[in-house]
């Protein structure tokens, strides 16, 4: 199976094709979309994008971890983590297309 990596440039190209803006402006808009999502998350907000999914910031409590190499116990400090919850629309879109292609 040949797997490709999609990057910002591909997203900018999609924007360029969808709306008649310049490539430069398309690329800037992709950047702003990612920045605005990031800023909302950093501000502690969840970001819900209907039919795509939602990004949530979760708080993790402190717990005791262990260095697997030395067996030493180390505290893992309380922290915030970012999780993505795909929407059912996205999940079924991916699942259907992948199972069909037999990859």
């Amino acid at each position: 199976m040949t797997q490709k990596t999609v990057t910002r440039a591909d997203l900018a190209e999609a924007v360029y094709e969808a709306v008649g803006l310049s490539r430069t402006e398309s690329a800037e808009l992709v950047e702003r979309v990612l920045d605005l999502i990031g800023d909302a998350l950093v501000a502690g907000q969840n970001v819900k994008l209907s039919s795509f999914g939602s990004f949530q910031v979760r708080s993790k409590n402190e717990r005791i971890g262990r260095n697997p190499k030395t067996g030493e116990e180390v505290p893992i400090l309380p922290r915030q983590v970012l999780v993505f919850k795909p929407s059912n629309v996205l999940k079924s879109k991916i699942n259907k297309s992948m199972v069909r292609s037999g990859k």
Binding site: T7, V33, L36, L49, F52, F84, P86
Partner: protein, 94 residues
């Protein structure tokens, strides 16, 4: 923040664009990410994160209530791993 609020904010920053165009732009981006995953591709957005597709092989499951075995078919599930930069920013803020 929901999609319409994101569109609203972008519209304020880009008064020369129609709100309809902004909606198309946001949807084009999200569709491109979704389409890529539907092809089994990986989407890597430095600083933000990476989307990928993971295979869950078929397995024999069990109904926990009745103990009955059920065949669970092969599945493909989307995955997201937050990028380093956003992970650090979220922690500093929290």
């Amino acid at each position: 923040m929901i999609k319409s609020e994101l569109v609203q904010r972008l519209a304020e920053e880009n008064p020369h664009l129609f709100q309809r165009d902004i909606e198309n732009i946001v949807n084009a981006i999200l569709d491109e990410v979704g389409d890529a995953m539907a092809r089994g591709d990986r989407v890597e957005l430095r600083g933000f994160g990476a989307f990928s597709v993971k295979n869950r092989p078929a397995r024999v499951g069990r109904n926990p209530r009745t103990g009955e075995t059920v065949d669970v078919g092969e599945k493909y599930v989307p995955q997201f791993k937050a990028g380093k930069e956003i992970r650090e920013r979220i922690n500093r803020a929290g």
